[in-house]
Amino acid sequence: MFRFIARRLLQTIPVLLVLITASFLMLRLVPGGPFDSEKATTPEIKHNLEAYYGFDQPLHKQFFNYLGNIVLHGDLGRSTKYSNRTVNEIIADKFPVSLELGAWSLLIALTIGLSAGILAAVYKNTWADYVTSGIVMTGICVPTFVLGPLLVLAFAIHFGWLSASGWYVWQDRVLPALTLGIVYAAYIARLTRGGMLEVLGQDYIRTARAKGASETRVVLRHALRGGLLPVVAFLGPAIAGIITGSFVIETIFQIPGLGREFVNSAFNRDRTLILGTVMLYAVLIIALNLVVDVVQVWLNPKLKFD
């Protein structure tokens, strides 16, 4: 297993290198630069700006400087939009916020999603299944930018129980976590139901029942392990997505997370910040996919590390 992990980690290096190079070059190809604004400044001032950030140097030199700073100093560079902050600082500042929001959402998503999925599978084709599946479909169909404002209208403006926005006290976490969590819960519920149904019809479940195992034991002990496989495969990239922040949720609820920085940096052509967040996202996806592979082998005895 360790050889497997070590090999996978080594493979990460060329993947990241290709990713950085491609992103770096693509950023130079998109129309519009970091200093374009509605009020054009003089060509001299613009030239001074380019020189200030080293953008006047040949491209390969800029690239190797950038790469060198990452490898040698772990320095992701300075934001061109927010001149008094470095990319390292912005990520260190915003990532924990997105991580926290993501953790709460994930908790909600797993709790609701797994229970609903198991319930629907066990009581297949009964009213319980129809009701749960109906709610789940609604959850998938209602986008966050509708659900979020609706929750705010109800709980913040109408009842006045929670704040409409902000990220100061624990109550501020409730509505955004719920909004983000419900969507994922819906997907998890569907996957769990599907996975469970497949497993529940198999011979080893019949064997377990025949041996006299209780229904609870059959479902939670024997069936769930196999039934979870599709959920686990889904969770890898989903967790990466959920913890790197959601632009929509962070905008609706005015949360200072990384999702907004990620999207806005692209709008601002804040090249260093784009590259920094892209890399963080890539590292997370790679790491989580690795975790998923390990967990899948553990859950499914048919799979082996090789």
Binding site: G32, Y52, N84, I108, P256, N268
Partner: protein, 537 residues
Amino acid sequence: MNTRTFGILFVCAALAGLPSGCAKKETAPAATLAKILRFGNGAEPQDIDPHAVTGVSEGKIINALFEGLVAEDPSGIGIAPGVAERWTISDDGLVYTFHLRADAQWSNGLPLTASDFVHSYQRMLTPSLASEYAYKLYPLTGAEAYNKGASTDFSQVGVKALGDHTLKLTLKNRTPYLLQDLKHYAWFPVPVDVIGKFGGLARKGSAWTRPGNFVGNGPFILKEWLPNQRLVVTRSPTYWDHATVKLDEIDFMPVEDGDTEERMFRSGQLDKTESLPLEKIAVYKRNYPMMYREDPFYGVYFYRINVTKPPFNDVRVRRALAMCIDREAIVSDILHGGQKPAWNFTPPTPEFESSARIPYDVAEAQHLLAEAGYPEGKNFPHVELLYNTSASHRIIAEAIQQMWKTSLGIDITLLNQEWKVYLDSQNTGNYQLARAGWIGDYPDPNTFLDLWTTGGGNNQTGWSNATYDDLLRSAASATNDTERATDYQQMEQIVADELPVIPIYFYTHVYALNPKVKGWVPQLIDNRAWKWIDLAE
């Protein structure tokens, strides 16, 4: 994963889920005891170093943290003394002598002297600092040459300290709007000694603007800055006029999304919004007229035309298009926010109102188009109207598209682009018609008419007119206001005849304001002096 793990998960989730049902609202920051204004401020500030920023939201914060030679008066249009308690202007209008107040000081207790201004302007103009607003100082003699690196001798620049409390500004041309422009943060002093300690003067984005390090000279000082969350300023004890300051604290909240902002206002988290979504305007007018505000704003919404390419290299086509836009319908049926139809380019002010007028004459427009070779729109080439992605730009573009189709029989396609791509398309002349807007920097027609000079960075239409350029130079060197106004009237007429752009409407500033906020007067140019603002029941 086994059942036990699941059991634990379920319990955790149940515990986590519990409070959502019974949570009580965290009381909003108590505005009753301390006077705290919670202000929707649009975009997150890039920085609060007056030499490192160009934005409007930064300007509002900087106006709280710094003060220039002069400041906005309570009426919102006049000029109140700032760091300078009085000033004299030479008869030819070229030399301004400011007498600084003896009690002006920085928030670290050090006195603020004339040499602080000299050093600040030197920093602003230093080429390697690459300050984007450096050109605001170009009215000073020698400033442009110094900023462009043509001269390295700062003593040639028209700013001199005559003793600790006297500052002399010498101008290239008579600039009648200079005092108004001095309210802009580009002219504010910065604490050069402090900045020098944090990585040097010619460095942007050093740590001097962080809470704890920050030093300013304004009515408020920086207390807290949580990026993308809020920036809090609190009353400054060292400000010379601190007795006049009424608010204890201002929370600048960076809320970019108009809908989020409006919900925050409704739930009592904001006292003023930056804007109001189009679809909420009618609701506020009807249900909350006490909170609805629409103020005139010194800006114009227009369509830029690329005059270098057919069919728009023919002035008759441009005139035809401009003459059949029903601007009244656009402001009354689409915008609803009290905007004024723009039949000329420069927005009206009490001092200047253009006499030029683009007629609304569909018959004449049809005639012109026929003359240009497209009778009833026949054979009219394929034309795209470019705008940056936004619902309100789209609605206006659709209305105008329809007007052109019914009156002239021409079909145009709408094309939206993401902001920076859209800017790039205009910059490189890769467009035919493009939506644009311009907000004046100072209350003088020059801030608008300057756009259309030959080869100007903001022209981007390819239009050039020698008479127009001469008139702009003539206005700059005019020795009295009447002469200037005459020049500007002629320039307006040229724009209305030649139409490198099609003006559509003059902006208003539409927002929601808590009636508790007192002293909030309409301003044509947003340069608010925060010390006049109060909060009261």
